[in-house]
Assembly symmetry: C2
Homo-oligomer: 245 residues x 2
Amino acid sequence: MYGRTAASGSGDRAASFSDAVEPAAALGDLFRDRPLETLAPGRALFWEGDEAAHVFEVAEGALRMCRLLPDDRRAIIGFAQAGDLLGVCVESRYLFTAEAVTRVRTRRIARSRFFTTIDATPALRRRLLAILCGETSTARDQVVLLGRRTAEERVAGFLLAVHRKSPAGARIDLPMSRRDIADYLGLTVETVSRMMTSLSRRGLIAVGTGRSISLREAAALKRLAGQDDDETAKGSPPRRAVWPN
Amino acid sequence: MYGRTAASGSGDRAASFSDAVEPAAALGDLFRDRPLETLAPGRALFWEGDEAAHVFEVAEGALRMCRLLPDDRRAIIGFAQAGDLLGVCVESRYLFTAEAVTRVRTRRIARSRFFTTIDATPALRRRLLAILCGETSTARDQVVLLGRRTAEERVAGFLLAVHRKSPAGARIDLPMSRRDIADYLGLTVETVSRMMTSLSRRGLIAVGTGRSISLREAAALKRLAGQDDDETAKGSPPRRAVWPN
DNA sequence: CGTCACTTTGAAAGCTTTCAATAGGAGTGG
DNA sequence: CCACTCCTATTGAAAGCTTTCAAAGTGACG
């Protein structure tokens, strides 16, 4: 589990990494006086199945939350970044592995203390509730993405999602590798690469050196990703197509 | 959002519909004296985007939670059944449409009252927390399923999941259509049908009349679905494959 | 300035989807 | 109670999008 401890951020619902929640009581306060711990790229903060003894707050860097299938296929459930909470779960074991993508700095508190404090503080309870609802919502967005969108739509949507939470400008620096992106989007590295190339050739993005990318035609990209800010249809209720039973 | 208000149930984490939570304070009590409302098959309990005025408890029947893409592609996020909670969300609008698959009976309470009561009752707060964590976990299982499993694994896993929550016996009666299953598994109706036929021809299942299916070789099915109850590997920690960065 | 890991390309293979058409079943009306 | 209609499920065959398998580029580092 993860979630911003005091995030702002908008977040088009379609394809957002973590969740947009209005600033409120800061869950981050819980970690205020805990020491910072550093994690080198590639190292795990905790493993799926391990005793969930702590709850973590990401202070810096990016992590990937992943799960492995018996035959080594890997699925990345999401990425966590500064301000996100990791390891919140009711069960006693972590449900996924959290690995550092970049150098990461975290703070931790005992799970028991986390819940005790949360339970005793109305404002924090509401924050946690919001975070959990957001997490579910994000995971479901991912379900829609994986279940019904093409490779191109996934990649376009991914780039837009990253962009939405990066400082500013058309330039984005992906902290993760193509493999991470592929495992997050349910594709292969090659397909991700091909889509990037394709978007690039069509002038929608510019693939820079390393892992930097510039969005050239955000509007077109949104159209591709199916995240049209179609203002005309904005007011109308979503879609009420009638489906046979 | 949905979740069992007082569920028992085990639930192999891989591919479970709703979530397994130990019995505790019954959230269902909140609905105890509310009148039952009936919904005919195919009718919506609420629409995505609608003002989330109520929280519902399913008393009977099965619903599908779905989302539509701009071009009519549909994704089913999950199914809800007796005991599940629907419509819990922090935001003011429903994030998906809930439609009756079978004849459904529900009870409802105002969202404000729901949260007020929950907030005032420690035991209920913990229940809700557990439900929300479970929902997130379920949605993520689905992400892994859609992102990294083959059509055959998905169908096999789906049948096992349905079986796990049905009364008993090898026989299961699917309340939903092939289309619903397809939209839930991110496949087409034809592919689902072909997989069923294939499993049937190999003797793993027997496709009865209507929507009934018998599991002939549950063990083999589990192997296919990647849900091996491999006792030997049971004790060992999940998987700690080291991934390059 | 090599080495190694990651990314990009190519070409062929594969799994699913599409498009079409044939079964099956449930419900309706004569 | 049977004929008729409609909708859902099953099959087939061809097309397509992704994946696989291989190999060539690129860039970061020591």
